[in-house]
């Protein structure tokens, strides 16, 4: 990813006050940050604001970047921390019930058995809202952990590096969170 532009040269030019270098860095980092924000924040949150916040933090802390890892990794971690801070500031919602679901979410829940069918945009949004509702009752860290494992298919090693946790801690958290997720789905199923 970092090979697309010469990050080192861009950073140097930015330090010397070259605004074009800043623009190159913004365009280079935008897809990385956008993906993390979309994954780790609920769909209805203001994505643009948060991407902007992450980029401002990135430029404010660029002097701390040592260059021993790719810039995109360093920025990913910063973006994830910012998302977790935002989630922590939000109140954790209580467990959801079937009656709380909108018609789209309810439809997405029922359709989730038909694996293999390709969803249209409305189904995807309904399913996403439902996923957000289910994840909202977990802690911000557990929410991100589940998404990194189940959605992004990241290895435990990668997650350990991103979150700064040990692998045994990750396994322990997953062991604790899985039953919570199953119980929520079971409850939605039973109250159908």
């Amino acid at each position: 990813m970092d090979e697309a532009i010469d990050v080192g040269a861009c950073l140097q030019r930015w330090k010397e006050g070259d605004e074009a270098a800043a623009e190159e860095l913004i365009r280079h980092l935008y897809p990385v940050i956008s993906k993390i924000v979309r994954t780790h924040l609920p769909r209805r949150d203001d994505e643009k604001d948060l991407v902007q916040e992450v980029l401002m933090k990135t430029f404010a802390k660029l002097h701390q970047f040592k260059g021993d890892a790719p810039l995109s990794h360093w920025v990913s971690r910063l973006a994830l921390t910012t998302c977790l801070d935002r989630l922590r500031a939000q109140k954790i919602r209580p467990e959801i019930r079937r009656a709380d679901l909108t018609p789209d979410e309810s439809e997405a829940f029922d359709a989730a058995w038909l694996s293999g069918s390709s969803p249209d945009a409305t189904d995807a949004i309904g399913a996403r809202d439902l996923v957000d509702k289910i994840l909202a009752s977990l802690s911000p860290e557990d929410r991100s952990l589940i998404l990194m494992v189940d959605l992004e298919g990241r290895s435990l090693q990668e997650i350990a590096e991103t979150l700064g946790w040990s692998i045994s801690k990750i396994k322990m958290r997953l062991f604790r969170v899985r039953p919570q997720l199953r119980q929520m789905i079971r409850k939605l199923e039973e109250s159908q």
Binding site: E19, A22, E23, I26, R27, Y30, P31, V32, I33, S34, K35, I36, V37, R38, T39, R43, K48, V51, Q52, L55, M56, F59, A60, A108, F109, A111, A112, W113, L114, S115, P119, A121, D123, A124, I125, A127, R128, L130, V131, I134, L147, D150, L151, R178, L181, R182, I185, R186, E189
Partner: protein, 100 residues
Amino acid sequence: MNPNSKEDEKWQCLLQQSAPTFAGTAEPPYGFVTSILARLRTENGQQAEMERIGWRALLASLAALVIAVTVTLGMSYSDRGSEFEPGVRGFVQMENVQVS
């Protein structure tokens, strides 16, 4: 059969269905880069201004300190040899009190 597999399968299906909404965008929206650059410019300007103000305040404090030290040392030098504290001596002179 694993008793949890039904819930796990449901969860995986929901994630699979919602997958398109998790995809990021490659290009920033129109005006995004310009607004970030404007904010960076403002913040850099503010930071430079704060640094200037900080240096001025530091220099002013140092100058005040030097003046205070000079005055104190000067007074202390001029009072050397006197048997009264400066305030007491002033009182003695003002009231013309006989001290011996």
